[in-house]
């Protein structure tokens, strides 16, 4: 019962908060001609920062190239900081150099908003790398996502120019992410999260043993980690570490931050294209799928730890306790709830060890990553959903014999090819990567669990990389050159391809003449379309990934649990 209350408060409360935030995001990203003088002064400042290119109106190709150029610079600058961490300041605990393939993987990961971590933060990274490399990327990769969504939405209104990427990314970073992060970081610090530049503390315990306690500038890091659907933790165990998540209340705040901006992005999209009822339909579809995953995760996590089932000397209490923290409440509450939220978005932080979730409870995060559109990453979640919408509109139109159109523009073969490519790319990266690593020592030698659960570890890792999630079944020994290179490439490819293709679709749609709304137009804002959209998402997801699910989590469930 308290679990249902927790879910209701977190999901419902955030949904309520997302409404005014979406309104604010529209003011930030697309102020329009009605903006006040101070708002316009901010935009002029952003234009000046970008120099001569700050004022150029960019059509979709130019916008995309600007985005890629900025992301390339992001990669290079962050890489340089991390590669030199051993000679740069802010390293009180003397972390050495980071191995090159790990630097590549980490920078690719944070540049793509994934935050996959093949390292443990307090072991490998200096404070300088954590702040100037990783935390900086957390801001600007999230800002990139929001900017891209705003550009897409503007394109769909028929404007030939999508805006100016350099101005958009600053708007998102300074007017949205920064104030939100300041507020959240302060609350986290007040809740007990450390914030210091002092090195690790050396303690002598009550029984006389030495204990080195790592700390650092955690509160600032955690705030933008959650708000920007980044997910990379300051410490290895992420938000199960008591410093990263000290209390039940910081736990709740963190969960709210995971879905807040992704939810608000849907409203921002609706406001920019001027179709709020359509946005509400999409929001409803996403919410339905999210709640289904939460219900599945919570239900299956309520089974007690199977490994203790044959031990009468251990209490058989509801809930699988392995990998959970006591301060968050029941083991089938916050852990699986967080797991569903973090993988429905592209966050990837964890409030419980996913490798230790019950098999089918661990399948829910995988489903979230395979669909990658139930709220999804900041900005890009809605961009992914846009691809599903195009496909749903096309299929629906074909089924009833009407020309498919979306927001008054015809959806034709060219748009469908681009959309299909976007969906196929994700499936390809996940399945081909998993297949390769499941049959070679690259994957097989790095497993922490044998049998179907081992397969799940590999499947999860590629799903996480391709979906730009970043969580993992962390028993996997993934700090090897093959894992670093393979997942690094997948993260980059499936970050930019699913951004470029939808922007191209929007650009292509914008060039067409607007068709008038008539009685024959298929509505995209009623329950029928909602059901159609859910069906499209599930069919594409189920068809693509069900066989892999059967080999991993479902096999494990039937072999061991039932």
């Amino acid at each position: 019962m308290d679990t249902i209350l927790l879910v209701g408060l977190v999901v419902g409360g955030t949904a309520l908060l997302s409404w005014p935030l979406g309104h604010y995001m529209k003011w930030v990203m697309d102020p329009g001609p009605g903006a006040g003088p101070r708002r316009r002064a901010l935009d002029r400042a952003f234009e000046r920062v970008a120099g001569r290119l700050g004022r150029e109106p960019q059509a979709w190709k130019r916008y995309t190239i600007a985005m890629l150029a900025f992301n390339a610079v992001m990669f290079l600058v962050a890489f340089a900081f991390m590669a030199l961490q051993q000679v740069l300041p802010l390293d009180p605990d003397g972390k050495g150099a980071v191995e090159p393939s790990l630097i590549f993987n980490t920078i690719a990961s944070f540049t793509s908003n994934t935050n996959l971590q093949h390292y443990s933060g307090e072991v490998a990274m200096s404070y300088l790398s954590q702040l100037f490399s990783l935390m900086w990327l957390q801001f600007v990769s999230a800002a990139t996502g929001v900017a891209v969504l705003a550009g897409l939405a503007r394109g769909l209104t028929g404007r030939s120019e999508m805006g100016n990427f350099f101005v958009d990314v600053q708007r998102a970073a300074f007017l949205l992410l920064l104030p939100a992060a300041l507020a959240v970081a302060t609350l986290m610090a007040l809740g007990g999260t450390p914030m210091t530049l002092a090195g690790a503390a050396a303690a002598t315990t009550l029984e006389g043993t030495e204990q080195v306690i790592a700390r650092g500038p955690v509160a600032a890091f955690v705030a933008i980690k959650q708000l920007g659907t980044n997910g990379g933790g300051f410490f290895g165990p992420n938000s199960t570490h008591p410093f990263e998540n000290p209390t039940f209340w910081t736990n709740g705040l963190s969960m709210i931050c995971i879905i807040l901006i992704p939810m608000a992005s849907v409203w921002m999209f609706g406001r920019i294209v001027g179709r709020m009822r359509h946005a509400a339909t999409v929001f409803g579809v996403m919410l339905f799928l999210l709640l289904a995953k939460i219900a599945g995760a919570v239900y299956f996590e309520a089974a007690p730890t199977q490994a203790f089932a044959g031990l009468p000397a251990v209490e058989q209490v509801a809930g699988n306790v392995e990998g959970k923290e006591m301060r968050f409440g029941t083991p089938y509450g916050s852990g699986p709830l967080w797991g569903a939220l973090t993988t429905s978005t592209s966050n990837g932080s964890v409030g419980a060890m996913h490798d230790s979730l019950n098999p089918v409870a661990g399948l829910m995060p995988m489903i979230g990553m395979w669909l990658n559109a139930t709220f999804g990453g900041v900005g890009v979640g809605m961009v992914n959903m846009f691809v599903y919408i195009i496909i749903a509109v096309f299929i629906a139109g074909m089924m009833v014999g009407r020309t498919p159109e979306y927001l008054n523009r015809r959806v034709e073969a060219r748009e469908m090819k681009l959309a299909a490519l976007a969906v196929i790319a994700h499936g390809f990266f996940v399945l081909a990567g998993t297949a390769l690593f499941a049959v070679t020592p690259w994957g097989v030698d790095t497993l922490n669990n044998w049998g179907p659960h081992g397969f799940s570890e590999i499947l999860y890792e590629f799903s996480s990389a391709s979906a730009n999630n970043g969580s993992g079944f962390e028993g996997l020994g993934d700090n090897t050159v093959p894992w670093n290179v393979a997942t690094g490439l997948v993260m980059l490819l499936n970050r930019y391809v699913p951004i470029i293709l939808p922007l191209a679709i929007a650009g292509s749609l914008a060039r067409k003449r607007a068709t008038a709304q008539s009685a024959g137009t298929l509505s995209v804002q009623d329950a029928t379309f909602g059901v159609m959209l859910v069906g499209t998402i599930l069919i594409i997801g189920a068809l693509t990934f069900f066989p892999a699910a059967a080999l991993g989590p479902i096999a494990e469930h039937f072999l061991y649990v039932s």
């Binding site: 150029a69 990998g323 301060r327 029941t330």
Partner: protein, 202 residues
């Protein structure tokens, strides 16, 4: 190219504002408002040395102390982590059998499961009130205190981590053990632990 120049300029400004400005502000606010928490909630002994952190579990093996949850990283505060074992894994069964032996659990007096299961970060400072009361008998006889006294101490220390939103109360193992030492400061325990000297025994 002008694209690269624009990118570099935006880079510089975002680093200045979102890293230096932001982190600096939060650093100042945290150190000013909550200095103890900002530096890791460290606990000091009367002698001045750091005993540990209120938020970070530490190892306890003396029967006169309450024992925390198992840790997959042996309470390493500089390299935390979980076991990441599947809940169907035979390794977990093995570890649970070790815990049963250590706590002396029997089917008539079964072990609370969190004392057999590792926490996510390996540094979980809490156990449930129930798990603490489970150990109260052992602690009481090791310290030659009455079990009801120890039980009362546990109940006093227990709190509900989520207020009205959580049902089960928990105790902070380190704080409970410090309170215990305060109660039996005369050292009337069955076994002498060398650590008493390093703590500045009264």
């Amino acid at each position: 190219m002008r694209l690269l120049l624009a990118s570099v300029r935006v880079t510089a400004v975002t680093i200045g504002v979102c890293v230096v400005g932001y982190a600096g502000t939060i650093l100042g606010v945290a150190q000013a408002l909550v200095p103890v928490a900002a530096n890791g909630s460290l606990v000091s002994s009367p002698g001045g040395g750091v005993i540990g952190s209120r938020l970070i579990a530490q190892a306890f093996e003396d029967p006169g102390y309450f024992w925390p949850r198992p840790s997959a990283v042996d309470y390493n505060g500089a390299g935390a982590g979980g076991s990441n074992k599947s809940p169907t894994s035979a390794d977990l069964t093995e570890r649970a059998e070790g815990a049963i032996a250590r706590f002396g659990a029997t089917p008539e007096s079964p072990l609370p499961p969190e004392l057999a299961a590792a926490s996510g970060g390996g540094l979980d400072p809490h156990i449930s009130e129930h798990a603490a009361l489970y150990q109260a008998g052992r602690v009481a006889s090791a310290r030659r205190l009455s079990p009801s006294r120890v039980g009362a101490l546990v109940r006093e220390s227990a709190f509900s981590p989520g207020g009205a939103l959580t049902r089960d109360r928990v105790v902070n193992v380190l704080e409970l053990n410090l309170a215990l030492d305060g109660v039996s400061a005369s050292g009337a325990r069955g076994t002498v632990v060398p650590a008493a000297e390093s703590r500045g025994a009264p």
